[in-house]
C-alpha cells in the first residue's frame, strides 16, 4: 500500500523530472529543485502508483527545497514514521525502472543546513548502491522496511556535499517526513481553520483573504523545531471541544418504497 503513495513527476514532454510522495490524500510533496522551471499554479503531470494525474504547484518552501502539488481527486496517502538510527531504507522512485533502486541504512536524524540556505530536520542516509550521481531520485519518498508494511520517513533532497568535488558519493539527505507540516502554510492549523470557515468562497479569493492572517506558520519564516511544536501542541491540547463521535443511528430512510406484489 505504501508504495502506491510514491509519485513520479514528468515534464510536458513526458520526461522524468523527479519523485514525489502523497503526503495527504490531495497533496504531493517533492523537492523544490525538481520544479525549478515551474511557476505557482502550473500543471505538472504526475504518476501515482502508475496512475496519471494532473498536479498543480500550490506552494514552495524555497529555502528548504520543498514544494507542494495539489491533485484533483483524493488517493490513499502515505503511512509515515520517524526514522531511527540503523533502520533499513529503500527509495523506489527513479527515472527508469531499469535504473538501480536505492537502498541502505539510516545514519540518524540531524538539523541540516540545505544548499538552498534553510535549516531543517533531515534524515542522513547511506546507500548501498554507490552510483556517484543521484539525479532523478530527488523528491522521491524514503521508505523504512519491512517492505510489506513500508512507512515513509523522508523526502530525498540532496547528496553530500553537493558543492564541488570530490563527492562523498554514498551519503544522501532526506527531509524528515514531518517537516512539510512545519514549513507549508497550507498544512498549518491556521490554514485549516480558515478553510473550515470559508463559505464557498472562490478558492483564489479565499487564498488572498486568509494569507494575511497566517504569517506565523508562513514558509521559511518559522524555524522552530518539530519536536518543540509537537510538545507545544500536546501540552496545551486540553479536551476543548472534543465532542464524542456518537455512533450513527442508522440513516437508511425508507428510500425503497414497497415494490411488492400488487396482484
Amino acid at each position: 500500500m505504501g508504495h502506491n503513495a510514491a509519485a513520479q513527476l514528468l515534464s510536458a514532454d513526458s520526461v522524468h523530472i523527479g519523485g514525489g510522495v502523497l503526503l495527504t490524500s490531495y497533496l504531493v510533496v517533492t523537492a523544490n529543485h525538481c520544479l525549478r522551471n515551474a511557476q505557482i499554479g502550473d500543471s505538472i503531470d504526475i504518476r501515482i502508483g502508475g496512475e496519471p494525474v494532473i498536479g498543480k504547484l500550490v506552494e514552495r518552501a524555497v529555502l528548504h527545497d520543498l514544494a507542494l502539488l495539489e491533485i484533483p481527486r483524493p488517493m490513499p496517502p502515505v503511512e509515515s514514521a520517524y526514522a531511527r538510527r540503523g533502520d533499513a531504507w529503500f527509495g523506489p522512485v527513479r527515472r527508469n525502472m531499469t535504473d538501480p533502486e536505492l537502498s541502505g541504512t539510516v545514519v540518524g536524524r540531524l538539523e541540516y543546513e540545505c544548499e538552498a540556505g534553510g535549516s531543517l530536520l533531515a534524515v542522513q542516509l547511506v546507500t548501498l548502491v554507490d552510483i556517484g550521481q543521484y539525479e532523478g531520485y530527488s523528491g522521491g519518498p524514503v521508505y523504512r522496511l519491512p517492505e510489506e508494511n513500508p512507512a515513509a520517513i523522508g523526502v530525498l533532497l540532496e547528496q553530500f556535499p553537493d558543492q564541488g568535488s570530490p563527492r562523498n558519493t554514498n551519503t544522501l539527505f532526506a527531509a524528515c517526513i514531518s517537516e512539510p507540516f512545519r514549513l507549508f502554510r497550507r498544512l498549518s492549523y491556521a490554514w485549516l481553520v480558515s478553510e473550515l470557515l470559508s463559505h464557498n468562497v472562490d478558492k483564489n479569493h479565499g487564498q488572498s483573504r486568509t494569507s494575511s492572517s497566517n504569517s506565523v506558520s508562513g514558509a521559511d519564516a518559522d524555524d522552530r523545531k518539530i519536536f518543540d511544536i509537537a510538545v507545544d501542541a500536546l501540552e496545551t491540547s486540553m479536551l476543548d471541544a472534543d465532542a464524542q463521535d456518537v455512533i450513527v443511528a442508522r440513516v437508511g430512510k425508507s428510500a425503497m418504497m414497497p415494490t411488492d406484489e400488487l396482484r
Binding site: 498549518s188 492549523y189 481553520v193 501542541a233 491540547s237 476543548d240 471541544a241 456518537v246 455512533i247 411488492d260
Partner: protein, 697 residues
C-alpha cells in the same frame, strides 16, 4: 522568597531546562537515552523541596517536560513525574492547572477513571482559589471529558464561569456544546456550534495571528462538534471543504506525533469515523465496505493500545458492527444480516457491561441492535426473530428518559413487533400490502403517547430536523394503520419544513417528498404523486447520479404510479429500464431486483403479455424459494401471483397445487382465521371449481 529558596529554584530551573534539551536530543536519535540521568536529578530535586512552594513558572516547565517525555514515547516516566507532583506544595491556581493537565493526560493515555478524579479535584481547587478563569477552565474540562466519552452528565456551568480570553471562551462554549449533546438538545448544539465558528472567525481576522495551539483547538472543535451534529441530524457542513481539512489534519497529527502514539491514534479514530459517516450516505457499497474495514483494523489497534474497557475501543467496535450491518442491509443478504445483527447485539452488551447501561455509547449501540433485530423480524416474521427483537427493544427502552427521540422510535418498534406477534396486523405500509391492517390505534395496550394529537402538535411546532424525522415515523404509522388523510397532512407539512430547513436539494428533503408522494398514491391521488415522483427522479439523477440506489427506487416509484394511474405503456418501459439497472448494479439476486422483476411481470400481465409475465413469475418464485425460503412473505406473494396467473389462463391443476401449498403455510403462520388465510382458502376453492380469474384489488 528566601535566598535559600531562590537558589533552590534556580537549580531546579536549570535541571528542568537541561532535561528538556536532553529529551530533544534523544528524540533526534543521536544520543540514546541521554535524558534518563537528568530526569533522575529533576526527581531528586522535587523530592527535596519539602515545604517549599515552587513558582508557577516552575510548574509550567514541569508540565512541558512531562509532555516532552510523552512525545518521546516515554509516558511511564511522565507518569512518575506527575505522581510526584501531587505531593509538592502548590498555590490553588497552580494546582488547578496541574490537576487539569494531569486529567487531560490521563485521558490521552487511556486512563479514564483516574482522569475523572483529577478533574473533580481540579474544580475543588478552583473554587478554593476563587479565580473565575480557573473555575471556568476546570468545569469545562470535566464537562468536556464526560461528554467526549458520552457519560451522561448532571454537571452544569456555574453562572460566574465567564472569560474574556478566547481560549477560555472556546473551552466554555465547547463545554456547553457537550452538555447539550449528552442531553440531546439539538438547538443548543447548533447554537454552540455557531458560537465556536464565530470565535474562530474573529481569531482568523484578528490582527494578531492565533497561536498554533489555539488554531489546532479551533480546527478540532469545529470538526468534532460538526461530526456530532451530522450523526444526529444528518446535516452538511455549512462552510468550506471539510473532507480535505479532515484529511490534512489526520495526516498531520499522525506524522507530527508519530503514527502509533495515543495522539496519532486519536486523530485516526476521528478520521475513520468521519469517513464511515460519509460513506453511509450517498456512496457506493465498496466505499462503505472499505470504511468498515478501516474501523475494524483500528478497533483492534485501540483494543491493544487502550485496553478493552476504554471508550475508544468500545466506540470503534460498535461502529464497525453497525457498518457490517449496513453492508449486509445494502447487499440484501438475509443470512449476513442476521449474523451482523447478532454481532451488534453482543457488542452492545459488552458496551453496557464496560461503560454502564446509561452511557450514551452503550445506549445508542443497544438501540441500534434493537432496531436491526426489529428490521429483520419485520422482514421475516419469523417467531424466533420476533422474540429476539422484542427482547432487544425492551432492553433498549431501559434508561430511555434522557434520550427521548430514540426511546420514541424504540417504543413504536416494540409496539409493531408485538402487534405482528399477536397476528393482528402487518405493518408494511403502502397500498401493496398483502394483509389487512388492524386498526392498531384503537387496540388496548397501544402507546397512546404516540398517537396523541397534542403530542403530534408539539412536534409540528418545532424546527429541528431531528423532530421532522420523528414526524416521518408517525406519518408512516398513520399510513400503516390506514389513517391516510392524517398521514398526508403530516407529510405535507414535513416536506415543506425539510425544504425550508435543509434546502430543496438535501437528500432528506428528497426522501420526505418521496414519502409524501407514496401517501398521495395510497390515497388514489395519482397525478399529484406522479408529479412529485417525476421531479424527485430528475433531482436524484442530477444530485446523486443515475445509478444511485435512491435514484433506482425513484424510477421504480414512478413506474408503479404510472401503472396505478393506468399508463401501462409508460409503466412497462420504465420497469424494463429499472430492472436492467437493478440487475446490473445490485446483482440479479438482490431482493430489490426480485421485487423489480415482479413489478415488471405485473405490468406485462395487465398489458396482456401473459406468457412473458408467467415466465417471470415462475423464475421469481424459484429464486425467492431458494434465496428467502419457502415461507417468506415475499415468496408467499410470488406463489400467489403465479397461481393466480395459472388459474386465469386455465391451467387449474397447477394453480390448485400452488394455492394448496400457500394455504398450508398461511394456516401455519397466521392461524386458520386470519384474513390472509381466509382469502387464500377462497382462492383455492375458486381454482378447484375451475372459476376463471377474478382480479384482486
Amino acid at each position: 522568597m528566601s535566598a535559600l529558596e531562590e537558589e533552590q529554584f534556580e537549580t531546579l530551573h536549570e535541571l528542568l531546562r537541561r532535561c528538556y534539551v536532553d529529551c530533544r536530543r534523544s528524540f533526534y536519535g543521536e544520543h540514546g537515552d541521554v535524558y534518563e540521568s537528568s530526569l533522575v536529578s529533576v526527581m531528586e530535586a522535587l523530592n527535596n523541596l519539602g515545604e517549599v512552594q515552587p513558582t508557577a513558572e516552575i510548574f509550567s516547565r514541569i508540565r512541558r517536560l512531562v509532555t516532552a517525555l510523552d512525545v518521546l514515547g516515554e509516558g511511564r516516566h511522565g507518569d512518575s513525574l506527575v505522581d510526584l507532583l501531587r505531593h509538592v506544595r502548590a498555590a490553588n491556581v497552580d494546582r488547578v492547572d496541574l490537576l487539569g493537565f494531569a486529567g487531560v493526560r490521563h485521558v490521552r493515555r487511556g486512563n479514564h477513571r483516574r482522569a475523572e478524579d483529577m478533574f473533580v479535584e481540579s474544580i475543588e481547587a478552583a473554587r478554593a482559589s476563587g479565580d473565575r478563569d480557573a473555575i471556568a477552565k476546570a468545569q469545562a474540562n470535566l464537562i468536556a471529558y464526560k461528554a467526549k466519552w458520552s457519560i451522561l452528565s448532571d454537571e452544569s456551568l456555574e453562572e460566574e464561569a465567564t472569560s474574556t480570553r478566547p481560549e477560555v471562551q472556546l473551552r466554555l462554549v465547547a463545554a456547553r456544546f457537550n452538555l447539550a449533546l449528552t442531553r440531546g438538545d439539538i438547538d443548543a448544539m447548533n447554537e454552540a456550534f455557531k458560537e465556536i465558528a464565530a470565535i474562530a472567525q474573529s481569531a482568523t481576522t484578528d490582527a494578531d495571528a492565533p497561536s498554533e495551539q489555539f488554531s489546532r483547538a479551533l480546527a478540532f472543535s469545529l470538526i468534532t462538534c460538526f461530526n456530532a451534529l451530522t450523526g444526529i441530524q444528518g446535516s452538511q457542513y455549512p462552510g468550506g471543504n471539510l473532507a480535505k481539512v479532515v484529511d490534512v489534519l489526520a495526516q498531520r497529527e499522525k506524522t507530527v506525533f508519530g503514527p502509533n502514539g495515543p495522539e496519532g491514534l486519536r486523530s485516526k479514530v476521528t478520521n475513520v469515523i468521519y469517513e464511515f459517516r460519509s460513506s453511509l450516505k450517498n456512496e457506493r457499497l465498496e466505499a462503505l465496505a472499505a470504511a468498515v474495514d478501516s474501523l475494524r483494523a483500528l478497533s483492534t489497534f485501540a483494543f491493544l493500545e487502550f485496553g478493552p474497557e476504554s471508550p475508544e475501543s468500545v466506540l470503534l467496535a460498535c461502529n464497525a458492527a453497525v457498518g457490517d450491518l449496513e453492508v449486509a442491509r445494502r447487499r440484501g443478504d438475509l443470512v449476513q444480516l442476521r449474523m451482523a445483527s447478532r454481532a451488534l447485539e453482543q457488542v452492545a452488551r459488552a458496551a453496557r457491561t464496560r461503560l454502564g447501561s446509561e452511557h450514551l455509547i452503550a445506549m445508542t449501540a443497544t438501540s441500534n441492535a434493537a432496531t436491526a433485530a426489529f428490521d429483520i423480524a419485520r422482514a421475516t416474521r419469523d417467531v424466533g426473530d420476533l422474540q429476539v427483537a422484542e427482547e432487544m427493544l425492551t432492553i433498549g427502552l431501559v434508561g430511555k428518559a434522557t434520550y427521548s427521540p430514540l426511546a420514541l422510535i424504540l417504543r413504536r418498534q416494540l409496539l409493531k413487533c408485538q402487534s405482528i406477534m399477536s397476528g393482528d396486523g402487518e405493518f408494511r405500509g403502502g397500498a401493496g400490502s398483502i394483509a389487512v391492517l388492524a386498526p392498531a390505534a384503537e387496540e388496548p395496550g397501544i402507546d397512546s403517547e404516540f398517537y396523541d394529537a397534542a403530542f403530534v402538535a408539539t412536534l409540528i411546532g418545532s424546527d429541528r430536523p431531528a423532530v421532522l424525522s420523528r414526524r416521518d415515523e408517525i406519518a408512516q404509522t398513520y399510513q400503516a394503520i390506514g389513517r391516510l388523510a392524517d398521514a398526508v397532512a403530516l407529510l405535507e407539512a414535513n416536506s415543506a419544513d425539510y425544504e425550508r430547513l435543509l434546502g430543496p436539494e438535501h437528500p432528506d428533503t428528497l426522501s420526505s417528498r418521496n414519502s409524501l408522494a407514496n401517501a398521495y398514491r395510497d390515497l388514489g391521488r395519482h397525478e399529484d404523486a406522479i408529479q412529485i415522483y417525476e421531479a424527485n427522479l430528475a433531482d436524484r439523477e442530477r444530485l446523486l447520479g443515475p445509478e444511485h440506489p435512491d435514484t433506482l427506487s425513484s424510477r421504480n416509484n414512478i413506474a408503479v404510479a404510472y401503472w396505478d394511474g393506468g399508463r401501462l405503456v409508460d409503466a412497462v418501459g420504465l420497469f424494463e429500464v429499472n430492472l436492467a439497472d437493478c440487475e446490473r448494479l445490485l446483482g440479479p439476486e438482490h431482493p430489490d431486483t426480485l421485487s423489480s422483476r415482479n413489478n415488471l411481470a405485473n405490468a406485462y400481465w395487465d398489458f396482456g403479455r401473459y406468457t412473458d409475465a408467467i415466465q417471470i413469475y415462475e423464475a421469481n418464485l424459484a429464486d425467492r424459494e431458494r434465496l428467502l425460503g419457502p415461507e417468506h412473505p415475499d415468496t408467499l406473494s410470488s406463489r400467489n401471483n403465479l397461481a393466480g396467473s395459472y388459474r386465469a389462463i386455465g391451467r387449474y391443476a397447477e394453480a390448485v397445487r400452488l394455492f394448496e401449498a400457500n394455504l398450508a403455510m398461511y394456516q401455519q403462520l397466521f392461524g386458520p382465521d386470519h384474513i390472509a388465510t381466509v382469502r387464500s382458502r377462497e382462492k383455492l376453492s375458486q381454482a378447484r371449481s375451475g372459476q376463471p380469474a377474478v382480479p384482486d384489488s
